[in-house]
Symmetry: C2
Subunit: 512 residues, 2 copies
């Protein structure tokens, strides 16, 4: 008898696959899509044009949402003097261990030697977040209740000196937006905090095509200096959690530290109630881990720098002019269509490279629709369509006019499929039935295995709220409390970890 | 006989006026328009929403022009390690005296004291410009002639430790864009250098409504490390020059330092030829000094965050609903019109403040068209129009429908008038007839007087090119060589300063 050869795994564009080595797969998806790379500067990344193009689209969409909710953009100094930072004790403690500290203002001494020189009277840090420096400005701007609410957003770079870095998910420098608002009353400030969390959740679903669990952070996980921290937690394809963004009600902690006070309608002085909220280039890390497959990135059309790429198949000079002309016509037809109120983004890739190489480059970059056009397509008035989400299927040959008529639907379907798949994953890898500490430990195991294969994910279970009591146990497992979801069960029972009466249901998971 | 009282100067919204105290007038225009302010951090400004809104429009327009000329945006680290910076000797020397140096990565020591801790093995600077750090990336990205040209732009913050600062014109931190490109040949790189200078000059004229003199910097005024530096110089209303932006041909200086090399078509290794070019928030300083009058800022419509502001005149509750409804109708009519391909930007200012106060706020902010609408206007279907450039004239009462039909023309006329006035100023305060060093010295005087009143400006005159020989004389006068304009006379004669044979005509001026 002849041995039957083992079924060969299909060739993938990304190696290793998720099942083989999930962390390395993540790096290779980013490399394959040419999105970013680590620089020669410790912990800092270079965001390459494809990654930056995605960030520009994320920014534009969020910026529109912020403006529609009454916020204005401003820009504040990158440096924070020590004296300003230390006004809020919890805050400075929370960040002091991981900051870039500027101590000198020259790099050359009197002998012409290149060494730090001109020591500053007071050291400054590169902002890790801007509550203190923006609070200083707000204190100047707010005098009367008429100056409130003050609704400001900033797009900026920030620095947190991380020891273990990973592209997009954790880097020393990252790009973000930080909203900072001041209000006359606690009620208004709390309303703002929740409103902006909801802006994020809507954006995450409608633009990033990702579901999430919105909720409140436990006291142990709060932003340093906040009264309440709200979060939206997403699940990556390996079942781990990603804190995608946060919105904080800061109470009067920062307004008292910075003296943001105002005369109320009765003529009395009061401290304002402030909020802050932010998302960062980390969103792109979540996008990669949330949507990509073993052939690379898959992009929701709303943030795809190109939604359609046309690859002309040029074999000889004589054909080339005719094919390029036809490609231009198809591109122009497609650009005449709208998706989410904007003309469809179409690129013709006429680089001097083999057609299949180009097609695979765009597959790795996650472009929703890829068209190949050769001489026969021109004759028939057709295009050969590859849908990024449907690689297994053959290329579809269809009339160009038909694609133009349906391109918006195609993009919509791409978005919906991505969302549905991510939603199904969240459901599949969430356990709601774990009620004993033994089952809890058995579920999370030791975490040594490839997280993509281990079947672990989120545990939603009753929790007593005693974070100190469970800190050691959770740390040993590498598990954290992600949030107290807004969506709470009718009945609670006893804490899954301590057996004491539960205060609320919590979400437990390993996290990035 | 009774004494005739002296004619009273008209009341101005900005005090002091330009003639009274030009530098202080500049600060007060910015304050009056609520554009920016100095922060508590040495030399750093806060860009407030009105100033930031102008910057966003400048960015959007330039970004479109960069993309249309084939450039892509990317983002590079904010920190540059000393070892990287010092690879190009002229470059590091040019910047070493004014850099923010990061030496530590913690702000708390083991005893919990808040002091710089965790000293870095190698100090880093906050980027003053990014040639070196981007060069490091380019060296990784460029392997073959097929990778060229590489056309990258970055929008970023940069830091130069300035001792004497002035809002927008000179601050320790500022916002800018920096284009960085690599090419296979000197010819292509030189073409890029000039192309981007022309993009700036077109933008300056068509968007900022400002004329300029494009030309080359003399060797003594070159960017540290450049082979050629090109500039476009603008004249402020006091006759001083402002270097509005620059474009550099860097030759192979940076590519040799960073090893940006490629295999050419013959298989040989060559160093690339690189360029860089940038403009910054300084453009806003030039905008203020170039266009404002004694009532405050005047904005070219292309970069006015609001092009039309409607001020409802509300006297009692009963009228209010009707007036607001009418204002909404007028706003909607105007928003239905396009200027430069975009819907007209209209704001209704319904704040609870007296109408005249609001009108004057918008005048100080430079909004091109301000409409007041009261009960009588509603009845007659009219608006009361104030054109920002025409304050002396009475308000014009005209039918709302008529304004909607002509609003794009009104904005166009505003742009053209601003440009024409700036062009007339440049012509009036440029002397082309000074041919002796005595006349030169007499013209520039000692510069002690208010520069707005002293009649000084630019001198275009033949120059021998010997910068060393004239350095002392020019320094004593506070005059610099702004550029060698592209537009050169047919005949030159002898150098205005040394009497030696002239090499070219140069532009001399005091400068910001």
């Amino acid at each position: 008898m002849t041995a039957v050869p083992a079924a060969k795994a299909p060739k993938t564009a990304i190696s290793p696959t998720r099942a083989e080595n999930y962390p390395e797969w993540y790096q290779q998806v980013i490399r394959g899509a040419d999105m970013a790379e680590m620089s020669g500067v410790r912990g800092c990344m270079v965001i390459k044009p494809w990654g930056n193009g995605i960030w520009e689209l994320i920014k534009a969409d969020l910026d529109r949402r912020f403006k529609e909710t009454g916020h204005e953009n401003a820009y504040f100094p990158i440096f924070i003097p020590l004296s300003l930072l230390q006004k809020e004790a919890d805050h400075v403690e929370g960040f002091a261990k991981e900051m870039a500290v500027v101590t000198h203002h020259r790099l050359v001494n009197r002998d012409g030697k290149l060494v730090p020189d001109g020591e500053l009277e007071e050291p400054m840090v590169v902002r890790p977040t801007s509550e203190t420096i923006i609070g200083e400005a707000f204190a100047r701007w707010v005098k009367s209740y008429r100056d409130l609410p003050l609704l400001i957003n900033q797009w900026a770079n920030v620095v947190r000196w991380e020891m273990r870095t990973r592209l997009f998910l954790r880097t020393a420098e990252f790009l973000w937006q930080e909203g900072h608002t001041a209000h006359a009353s606690e009620g208004e400030a709390r309303e703002e905090t929740m409103k902006m969390l909801n802006v994020y959740v809507d954006f995450y679903r409608d633009v990033m095509a990702l579901p999430c669990i919105p909720g409140e952070k436990t006291p142990g996980e709060r932003f340093p200096g906040a009264v309440n921290t709200y979060t939206f937690e997403a699940m990556m394809q390996d079942g781990k959690a990603l804190q995608a963004g946060t919105s904080h009600y800061l109470g009067q902690n920062f307004s008292k530290a910075a003296n943001i006070s105002f005369q109320n309608k009765s003529g009395e002085m009061e401290f304002a109630h402030t909020t802050s909220w932010g998302v960062s280039t980390r969103l792109i890390g979540g996008l990669v881990m949330g949507h990509s497959d073993d052939d690379g990135l898959r992009l929701p059309p709303a943030i795809a720098p190109q939604q359609v790429v046309i690859v002309p198949i040029l074999r000889d000079e004589a054909e080339a002019t005719r094919i390029m002309l036809y490609c231009e016509q198809v591109a122009s037809q497609l650009r005449g269509q709208n998706y989410l109120g904007q003309p469809v983004r179409v690129k013709i890739d006429s680089r001097d490279l083999p057609g299949p190489d180009k097609r695979w480059q765009w597959i790795r970059k996650g472009v929703p629709l890829i068209l190949e056009i050769g001489p026969r397509d021109v004759e028939g008035g057709n295009v050969a369509l590859t849908r990024r989400l449907d690689l297994a299927a053959r290329k579809a040959i269809l009339p160009a006019a038909q694609l133009a008529a349906t391109v918006a639907d195609e993009l919509k379907a791409c978005h919906e499929t991505l969302y549905r798949q991510a939603e199904a994953l969240l459901e599949q890898r969430t356990r709601r039935d774990i009620r004993t500490v033994e089952d809890f430990k058995a579920y999370f195991g030791d975490g040594g295995e490839n997280s993509f294969n281990n079947g672990q994910g989120f545990v939603r279970a009753p929790f007593c709220g005693d974070e100190d009591a469970v800190a050691g146990m959770l740390k040993d497992m590498g598990v954290t409390i992600r949030c107290i979801p807004f969506d709470q069960p009718a009945a609670l029972g006893s804490c899954v970890l301590t057996g004491k009466p539960a205060k609320y249901e919590a979400v437990f998971a390993r996290a990035y």
